[in-house]
């Protein structure tokens, strides 16, 4: 018999909330997270984009000075969200668990880009002797997984999933496999990204992927709107505690939802552009629904990938149309990047937190800035006020797609 995976703890630090309760409340209210950047490096490098969605609560306000020094910002954000998730699941500092059967499945898109580039600056300006000895463990993309394993005592493997902007959702696929296969009873999963740095901004601008709406940052992330002109860079982390149903039951844990199924496919089409008909996304959604044992008609809500780029939003619609058929009109779609910006590798993680809460509370968060919906994307988008989801068993789909042609989908259902 297949082991059931349930979600027992949630944590997040995001541009619209430094913890899960504030994140959820602001996502329901519709809260623009983007602001003009107040860093000297914006002007110094003459960046074509001068805004981003930075954390609502900086890690410097939460972590100790030593933790800030020894962890790259991406690791710091993972630590903040992981502590919340761990406590939310009811585990204390000395949790009475089998640590050998506790694993980490954590994602990032880029990893320690601040550490890498600041280390390079130090080397060039002051020589190799001045490069900090902690540089390597801070820049490595598995830094967060390793640090979480160390802090929480996970000895069942600390794995890292890297698939650009699909990392957060793909890490759930790994977590589900670890639980189902019986290799782990508890998995701490999620993803982190701290890439609001001049190089990623310059590079994303070079490929014309970012919104240049410098005069109105709060209106810049506008998925499905005819005037969308690119994504808004965000930062943060989302974490979930996933357990086998038996393990959660045995300790009397509160369960938010089931992680019912996942689907991962690759486009094999282009290194950055999505396959224009959404074929890879279609296959991933179908695979996830089949994995969950659900028919498309059972899905009431999709938290879409929807980054607000001119070319990216439509293939996802075509995929939803293909998967859901006429039922697509009944599916409430939320494009929450309109509020949070695009957290790249962490986007799937924080949006999965929202998806789980949508199952749990029966509400779907709003999409902001949708003034003129693109007629080529006639989705049933949640705007204005949160959508009430149907009573009874709910099934919610989370889509994430990443450069490299990665497609990852997770399905959450009522417990």
């Amino acid at each position: 018999m297949t082991r059931t995976a349930v979600i027992t703890g949630l944590g997040a630090t995001t541009p619209i909330g430094g913890d899960v309760p504030s994140f959820w409340a602001n996502a329901l209210a519709g809260t623009p997270g983007a602001r003009t950047l107040e860093h000297e490096w914006v002007e110094k490098h003459d960046l074509p984009v001068t805004f981003a969605a930075e954390l609502a609560v900086p890690t410097s306000e939460v972590l100790k000075k030593v933790e800030l020094k020894r962890q790259d910002p991406s690791m710091q954000m993972a630590t903040v969200a992981a502590r919340e998730a761990w406590a939310d699941a009811g585990f204390g500092e000395d949790a009475d668990i089998d640590h050998d059967r506790f694993a980490i499945a954590f994602g990032t898109g880029i990893g320690g880009v601040w550490t890498l580039l600041e280390g390079w600056d130090t080397l060039r300006e002051r020589g190799p002797r001045r490069v900090m000895p902690m540089t390597v463990p801070m820049l490595m993309p598995n830094g967060a997984a390793g640090a979480l394993s160390l802090e929480f005592g996970a000895r069942g493997g600390a794995r890292t999933v890297v698939s650009a902007c699909a990392s957060g959702t793909e890490s759930l696929d790994l977590a589900l496999q670890l639980i189902r296969s019986g290799k782990a009873d508890i998995v701490m999963t999620g993803s982190t990204e701290a890439a609001i740095h001049p190089l990623p901004i310059g590079a994303f601008c070079a490929m014309q992927a970012m919104s240049k709406r410098n005069d109105d940052p709060q209106a810049a992330s506008r998925p499905y709107d005819v005037d969308r002109d690119g994504f808004v860079l965000g930062e943060g982390a989302g974490v979930m505690i996933i357990e086998s149903e038996e393990h959660a039951k045995a300790r009397g844990a509160r369960v938010y939802a089931r992680l019912a199924g996942t689907g991962v496919t690759s486009d094999s089409h282009h290194i950055t552009a999505p396959e224009p008909e959404g074929l890879g996304a279609t296959r991933a959604m179908r695979a996830a629904l089949e994995d969950a044992g659900l028919s498309p008609e059972q899905v009431c809500h999709v938290n879409a990938h929807a980054t607000s780029t001119p070319v990216g939003d439509k293939p996802e619609y075509l995929a939803m149309r293909a998967v859901f058929g006429d039922h697509v009109e009944q599916v409430k779609v939320s494009a929450t990047k309109s509020q949070t910006g695009h957290l790249l590798g962490a986007s799937g993680a924080i949006e999965s937190v929202l998806s789980v809460l949508a199952v749990h509370h029966g509400k779907a968060p709003v999409t902001i800035n949708l003034d003129n919906q693109d007629p080529q994307i006639p989705l049933n988008v949640v705007t204005g006020t949160p959508a009430e989801l149907p009573e009874g068993d709910r099934a919610v789909v989370k889509n994430s797609f990443g450069f490299g042609g990665h497609n990852a989908v997770a399905v959450f259902t009522s417990y």
Partner: protein, 81 residues
């Protein structure tokens, strides 16, 4: 040139920055590894910061001889000369 007291105070600040230990705990007789629980990576960070602060060179092969805080103070004082 910094005095022994100034070097001790400066080292204590560097150790505090790196490890979070209170500066008062960084006493001359304390062993970096056994008393202050400083691992090799932290020790190298402290050495690099001390070189910068006191404008001295502490060769890598010398670091293993710096067992106590006093050893480091003495080495830095000598290296300044």
């Amino acid at each position: 040139m910094a005095s022994k007291e100034e070097i001790l105070a400066g080292l204590a600040e560097i150790v505090n920055e790196e490890t979070g230990l209170e500066t008062e705990e960084v006493q001359p007789e304390k062993s970096f590894t056994d008393d202050l629980d400083i691992d090799s990576i932290s020790m190298m960070t402290i050495v690099v910061n001390a070189e910068e602060k006191f404008d001295v060179k502490i060769p890598d092969e010398e670091v293993k001889n710096l067992k106590t805080v006093q050893d480091a103070v003495d080495y830095i004082e000598g290296a300044q000369a």
